[in-house]
């Protein structure tokens, strides 16, 4: 489904060139639950922006469902974001002046869907995340966990193939975090491809496949069925990385 071939992205930061992503290749199949783990500055946000069609690559090729995105126009990228990708952000990113229902309707508004059809779809999505009683509340009347569930509803309302979750639990308490992760699992079970971006190995443990990024490169990419084996591997890796940084 996602195929990244030798992609690079550089930024100019205070006169210095930063290789946020450096000749990175990654393939993600349909119906996978992948976590991308990395410390801040490891390039995971840049990677997520590229996969989410929010940013273009400098070099390399990005194929989404076999289509080469690298050559897409801004208009085509917007259409892709609208139809193929659902975003869940750390800061929820809901529009404060709209109710939960209106927030969830918004992607459908940009598809040009009629009022009654999109209302039905948005209600369905909100019911799916368990917020049927809070549809007409505004974000500031909802708890953090509820806001994030609205964001998940907004991500899935267009029935996208790919759901991109960027630190979805970063601003949540542990109980709400668990609920959101359970929700992501549910969506995975329902057939969505989930890409979870996090700095936390414990959160990443939820995924079936974990990709670790250091300085814009993939240092490990493995599937673990056994939680304990994964955590042991993680510890080892962290030690190596720590030494590498130390020296």
């Amino acid at each position: 489904m996602i195929e990244l071939k030798n992609i690079s992205k550089t930024y100019e930061l205070g006169g210095e060139t930063v290789h946020a992503v450096d000749k990175l290749s990654l393939t993600i199949e349909e119906h996978e639950f992948v976590a991308i783990i990395g410390a801040s500055g490891s390039g995971k946000s840049t990677l997520m922006n590229i996969i989410g069609c929010l940013d273009a690559v400098d070099e390399g090729q990005y194929l989404l469902r076999g289509k080469d995105i690298s050559s897409y126009s801004e208009r085509q990228m917007a259409t892709l974001r609208n139809r193929e990708i659902g975003f869940v952000f750390q800061q929820f990113n809901l529009l404060a002046k709209l109710t939960a229902l209106e927030n969830v309707e918004l992607p459908l508004v940009y598809q040009g869907m009629g009022l009654s059809a999109r209302k039905a779809r948005a209600e369905e999505a909100l019911i799916r995340v368990g917020l049927e009683s809070r549809m007409h509340h505004r974000p500031n009347q909802l708890s953090g966990g509820q806001q994030q569930r609205v964001a998940v509803a907004r991500a899935l309302v267009t029935r996208p193939a790919l759901i991109l979750a960027d630190e979805p639990t970063g601003n949540l308490d542990s109980k709400s975090s668990k609920e959101i992760l359970a929700l992501l699992h549910e969506l995975f079970e329902a057939g969505h491809t989930i890409l979870l971006i996090t700095h936390d190995s414990h959160i990443a443990a939820e995924a079936n496949r974990r990709v670790r990024l250091v300085d814009g490169c993939i240092v490990s990419d493995s599937k673990y069925d056994d939680e304990a084996a994964y955590l042991a591997e993680e510890k080892k890796l962290e030690k190596i990385c720590g030494e590498a940084i130390g020296s």
């Binding site: 940013d55 917007a78 974001r81 609208n82 990113n93 992607p107 940009y110």
Partner: protein
């Protein structure tokens, strides 16, 4: 995205910031209000004067001798001209001014020495008594037809036929009173005193006629009549000036007067409208300013909208409609206020003032244009934001 949805979004954004939207609108409200008021008042004034002028007739020629040289145009000359080549009646005038006195009271009057023909040519209406007759002229009678103001000044009422007053050193008998026209202009009929032209000629010491009004047999004959008079005056008056344009006399038709007046008023309304529209432009700058602030404030919102699939055009239209909605709403409010104020003013100014369709269309068109012109730059700025930059904005 559908347009109705975009309009809904724009209005909810405007309503969520009521005070700011209202203050922004105020610039446009004041602008449209001043444009509609000024243009409508000029139009109303034009209309009322035009109606008055048209009442004076389109088949009338007003002739005045302008050369400073002594001319010899006699009553007989003019009498011969009557009923010739398009000319109907001719009403010569010998004018002057004096103070009329009676019973120790006085009134300043403008004297018009006339023939009986003036009654018809100048559409004079006498409410009591009669007008100057041929016999009055033949006998150089000291009789007068006076305006209502003169009658009131001298006697306190207008029932004055048969009373006497003194003027130009003679005693005049009042034989008629003119209809009151109520205006206070310099040549108001109310302070005019008509006397026989032969009497005026002698008392004012004028033998040559220097001004007269003539009617043509019909409105269509106006050019023929004008030519007849020109031929006649051309033989009487030698142009003294080197300027070939100056013939030493002027012939004026109400039509000429009307079109001259119209062009003055059009210039006037353009001028006033132009000055007022400066305030509209200032209002537009206010809109642009507030929209730029709004775009900066809502950078994150724009980022979210773009991330979930809003196109460049969706954002552009959303912000553009917001600007246009502010300016159009301001325009409509300004127009309604203008219409209301015009009603109040028509009562005060004793003039029919209405908001014409063309002025309303102009005001609305102008405010629409202001919204688009001053809204496009901020809207484009919003639409051009990159989603990742906008999302990162705090």
């Amino acid at each position: 995205m559908k347009l109705t949805q975009a309009v809904k979004m724009a209005f909810s954004a405007i309503l969520s910031n009521k005070m700011r939207s209202f203050l922004t609108m105020l610039g446009i409200i004041i602008g449209v209000l001043s444009v509609t008021l000024l243009v409508s008042i000029v139009q109303g004034a034009t209309d009322s004067v035009t109606v008055q002028l048209e009442g004076l007739g389109g088949n009338q020629l007003i002739v005045a001798v302008t050369t400073p040289q002594t001319t010899y145009i006699t009553l007989d000359d003019l009498d011969n001209l009557q009923n010739k080549d398009g000319i109907g009646l001719i009403a010569p005038v010998i004018g002057g001014a004096d103070t009329a006195k009676a019973d120790g009271k006085s009134s300043s009057v403008s004297i018009s020495g006339v023939l009986e023909t003036s009654l018809e040519v100048d559409s004079i209406s006498v409410v009591s008594g009669r007008f100057i007759q041929q016999s009055d002229n033949d006998n150089r009678m000291c009789v007068a037809v006076v305006g209502a103001k003169i009658a009131k000044d001298l006697f306190g009422h207008t029932d004055v036929v048969g009373s006497n007053f003194t003027m130009l050193g003679r005693t005049f008998e009042i034989i008629g009173v003119l209809e009151e026209d109520g205006t206070v202009s310099m040549n108001s009929q109310d302070s005019t005193c008509y006397i026989p032209i032969s009497t005026a000629s002698r008392l004012l010491g004028q033998t040559s006629i220097r001004s007269f009004n003539a009617t043509t047999t019909s409105v269509e004959e106006i050019d023929l009549g004008r030519q007849t008079i020109e031929n006649f005056l051309g033989g009487k008056i030698k142009s003294s000036s080197a300027d070939s344009e100056d013939k030493g006399y002027t012939i004026f038709n109400m039509g000429d007067l009307l079109s001259a007046f119209d062009s003055v008023m059009t210039t006037m309304s353009l001028l006033l409208g132009g000055i007022a529209s400066i305030s509209l432009i200032v209002g537009g700058i206010g809109i642009m300013n507030i929209m730029l602030v709004s775009v900066t404030e809502r950078t994150r919102e724009i980022g979210i909208r773009k991330a979930i699939g809003a196109q460049h055009s969706d954002i552009l239209i959303q912000f553009l409609i917001e600007a246009v909605a502010i300016s159009i709403t301001g325009g409509v409010i300004g127009m309604l206020l203008g219409a209301g104020l015009l009603q109040v003013l028509s009562g005060i100014m004793d003039m029919t003032l209405n908001l014409s369709v063309s002025v309303s269309a102009l005001a609305l068109g102008f405010s629409l244009a202001i919204g688009v012109i001053f809204g496009i730059y901020p809207a484009n700025k919003a639409a051009k934001l990159k989603p990742i930059d906008a999302l990162r904005y705090e």
